[in-house]
């Protein structure tokens, strides 16, 4: 059997590099106002997976999605909102659908069993004319209502597409 580091390395090559936020209070990040940056993007990356894993049962009628914040602070939703996640139990995942920005966030799984991204990846960020990697962000959003309880950990899987590109958790 391959040792753990080999499994991790092969997995990184298969599905991309993986970064996680801390375990977060949903009441701080799934809000009506999508101001909460969760990942910082340096350079140009291929976004392959993005999901929030519920670590404490949810309350409040948030309909979560994510936005990308460009260098001029313009926010663009990278998916469409699902139904309310009020009452979503620990172990469920809220999954970015890929494909196009019109794709609806997937919440159809059950505890610890969810679909992965089924759409094509997005290329996010960029490189300036001077060859400097841009700094942009992925932000979390509750859309129409605030979460009133619950915890969530966000995970981002990506591949660098410019020299020095990477993603790091903002929180």
């Amino acid at each position: 059997m391959a040792n753990k580091s080999t499994i991790e390395a092969v997995s990184d090559l298969h599905r991309g590099l993986l970064v996680e936020t801390a375990n977060l209070e949903a009441t701080d990040y799934w809000l009506t106002a999508d101001t909460a940056a969760i990942f910082t993007i340096t350079g140009r990356i291929l976004l392959l997976e993005l999901y929030g894993e519920i670590t404490e049962d949810m309350a409040g009628a948030a309909q979560p999605n994510w936005a990308h914040t460009a260098t001029d602070a313009t926010k663009t939703d990278i998916c469409a909102v699902p139904a309310s996640i009020a009452g979503l139990n620990t172990g469920n995942r809220v999954v970015w659908p890929g494909g196009t920005t019109a794709g609806t966030v997937v919440i159809t799984g059950v505890e610890y069993d969810s679909p992965a991204n089924a759409g094509v990846g997005f290329i996010l960020g960029g490189v300036t004319a001077a060859g400097v990697n841009m700094t942009t962000y992925i932000t979390a959003d509750g859309s129409v209502a605030d979460a009133t309880d619950g915890n969530v950990r966000f995970t981002c899987v990506y591949a660098p597409m410019s020299t020095g590109a990477h993603v790091s958790p903002t929180v």
């Binding site: 993986l18 291929l46 490189v127 020095g164 958790p169």
Partner: protein, 177 residues
Amino acid sequence: MGNLTFNYSQDTQDRVGEVITGIRVETPVLTNLTTYWTNPVTYAIFNVVGLIKVNAMYLEVTGVFDANATTLAFRWTGTTPTQAIATMGSASASIASSKVGTRVHFLGPSQVAAGPAAQISYMPAPFLVGGKTGAGVNCIGVISALVAGGTQAAAASGRYVLHYAAMTEGAYAVSAI
């Protein structure tokens, strides 16, 4: 604060990126309006030897485009064996007023499309370019850009980027500029 699950050096992260998205080649940033952003103008952007699988090919805007209705199409010209210049797909819609970070993708035989917003675009389906002769010799050809529709008169600039994998022995692509 969360964590990088596995702490690789940046060089290793770059290599992982190339394993997943392909080998990256880029032109320089093209700023000369007469040479690159005039209606119409065609110029070589990548030289291709052999058969390559293109995972993504796009123009990344680095200097904002003005309101003139510039369009972009990609073309293929066979050098060895000789093949007349051929359009690889229909031209894009106007990319007037594109912001810095807008990407205009080649999406395969049918179209060229800009991303939905600056610094966001969709990874296209891969496609194959070039080939190998009956004698087993790698073909040689050129991918070129056809800029038409409107002449940029202000500060437009951009770089072309290609992410690819070799499909025949000795195949590769390089910037033609």
